[in-house]
């Protein structure tokens, strides 16, 4: 956790039309840490992730100002957006299995990036499915459609896809919303295994999940970054801001 921060955000403001979704964010994500981001709905947490991988560009009416650097590069000025998106793995709240075979689901990103060699793809697919704790369940049916897997399997498939392009940052946006607690636990174990190798940004509505996994936790409320500190500081010791304390204690949500 030394050296240049992985993500540096400075003065970030985002508008959806007239509505201000992020009101000036200054935040740092350190290399190889797990940063938890908590806060009630409509706080701007997902919006932040969208700016990191520039998928905010595809939201009609979205405008953003300020600076956001990934690994030193200003995201706004990156010409090859696909390269940026391969550096950042994104796991969405709702599991999505592409209408391709399981194999093709995980091989999709490398193929699009130019990997053609079949054996390389096979290695990569197996590695990512193992990392996502899905290999044992699908190894005999790699040809079956990704859309026919169960919700929990599709979410793990999404994670395998997100890992398939060797991201340096893994962003998870409320990944456990649509899946059962057992699968959630399995994925949390996966994250624990990955944490030393990559940087993880974990947006979650489950406050206790942040407590379990995050090194530092940031509290977002109503488009503002209220507070960011070591996880223990946010949870057990007295947080600086009263709103953080109230949210963490479940007084509102």
């Amino acid at each position: 956790m030394t050296g240049r921060p992985m993500v540096e955000i400075s003065g970030l403001r985002v508008w959806y039309g007239r509505q201000e979704a992020l009101k000036g964010i200054d935040l740092e994500v350190r290399r190889n840490e797990v940063l938890g981001i908590i806060g009630p709905a409509q706080s701007g947490k997902s919006t932040l992730l969208k700016v990191i991988n520039r998928t905010i560009d595809d939201v009609p009416g979205a405008v953003w100002t300020g600076s956001l650097r990934v690994d030193g590069e200003e995201v706004r000025h990156i010409r090859d957006v696909s390269a940026l998106r391969r550096k950042v793995g994104m796991v969405t709240p709702l599991p999505v299995g592409l209408p391709l075979s399981v194999f093709d689901n995980v091989a999709f990103a490398p193929r699009m990036a130019g990997v053609r060699d079949r054996s390389q793809l096979e290695d990569r697919v197996e590695r990512c499915l193992r990392l996502a704790a899905l290999w044992d369940e699908v190894k005999d049916r790699l040809d079956s459609l990704g859309t026919r897997l169960s919700g929990g399997q599709q979410q793990r498939l999404t994670i395998a896809r997100a890992l398939s392009h060797d991201p340096e940052i893994l962003c998870l946006d409320e990944f456990s919303i649509a899946i059962d607690p057992v699968t959630t636990m399995r994925i949390e174990d996966v994250l624990k295994e990955l944490r030393s190798a990559i940087t993880i940004i974990l947006v979650t509505n489950l406050v206790q999940q942040a407590r379990r996994l995050a090194d530092r936790t940031a509290f977002f409320f109503n488009g503002e970054l209220v507070e960011v500190d070591r996880t223990e500081a946010i949870f057990s010791e007295a947080p600086a801001d009263v709103r953080t304390r109230q949210y963490v204690q479940g007084i509102f949500g």
């Binding site: 998928t55 595809d58 009609p60 696909s82 999505v96 592409l98 990103a109 896809r161 392009h165």
Partner: protein, 294 residues
């Protein structure tokens, strides 16, 4: 206690009457189709045979078959759809996948809708002015096919858009999230899953291109042309051609003393083809809806 009052009974009688009237209206509308097809078949029966399809019109079109017009229609349909399909599909891809909601795309949408409503005779005038005269193609299969292509374009665009729009947005976002470009996403996920809808739209335009008369009357279809029987490559791109629809018009209005069965036979072949193609498209649509991948 729950006995129907006379008011309720009256209401129910009114209801039944209304239902009956509406049913009758529907039947009255639908019955013509069946009656017409039946009557045409009945009148055409004596002349329908393979020979009818494969032999040329003879004796000033008072005898013989419909080979030349039939082949001409095939040429026109194939060439016009070969032109219209790629343009239509790509235009729909633009409108659904690339275009942002702004005044410019709204104008394009408007243009597509209005293109769809242009009368067929105006298409004929356009074809004459633009392709036959301005582009110096002369009256030819090419000019007629181009005219037909412009005519079928809006429906191909509309049905392709529908097919593209039926692919759920989360699929696209999942592809973009892993670094696929917009085109890669379209090529590998969106288009392959829209093929059935696109195909249905194109097939439906086959019957439309085969049935239209006005657009080809002045751009390439001709009263009579002698071509060898049984040769599928008898026409050239810059030839004029006979066509089924034109032929039906000709022998029922321009040629005197035509034996009765002849125009009926032509009508039956034209109508039969059109209905068969449409029915096939409908079956295809139902089949492929059931094979959806999500």
């Amino acid at each position: 206690m729950f006995e129907a009052s006379s008011h309720t009974r009256n209401k129910q009688r009114g209801e039944q009457a209304a239902r009956a009237v509406l049913f009758l209206m529907t039947v009255l509308m639908v019955a013509p189709l069946l009656l017409i097809v039946g009557y045409l078949f009945y009148q055409a029966w004596p002349i329908l045979s393979l020979d009818f399809l494969l032999s040329n019109p003879r004796n000033g079109m008072r005898a013989g078959g419909i080979w030349a017009p039939l082949l001409g229609t095939v040429y026109l349909v194939v060439i016009s759809l070969a032109i219209a399909t790629p343009i239509g599909v790509l235009a729909a891809v633009f409108l659904n996948e690339y275009a942002r909601e702004n005044w410019f795309t709204r104008i394009i949408n408007l243009a597509v809708v209005n293109l769809a409503g242009v009368p067929s005779i105006v298409h004929a005038l356009f074809g004459l002015g633009a392709f036959v005269l301005f582009a110096h193609l002369g009256k030819s299969i090419l000019a007629a096919s181009l005219t037909l292509a412009i005519m079928t374009l809006p429906v191909i665009i509309a049905s392709t858009r529908e097919a593209l729009a039926s692919v759920p947005q989360p699929f696209r976002e999942a592809c973009w999230n892993v670094g696929a470009t917009r085109w890669q996403t379209i090529r590998h996920v969106v288009l392959p899953n829209s093929v059935s809808g696109i195909l249905t739209g194109v097939i439906l335009q086959v019957s439309r291109a085969a049935g239209e008369t006005a657009p080809i009357m002045f751009t390439g279809a001709v009263f009579f042309k002698a071509i060898p029987e049984g040769d599928p490559f008898a026409y050239r791109l810059f030839d004029q051609a006979m066509a089924l629809s034109m032929h039906l018009f000709t022998i029922s209005t321009q040629v005197p003393d035509v034996p009765k069965a002849l125009p009926y036979g032509t009508a039956v072949v034209l109508l039969g083809t059109v209905l068969a193609v449409n029915a096939a498209a409908i079956v295809l649509r139902v089949r492929l809806r059931n094979r959806r991948k999500w």
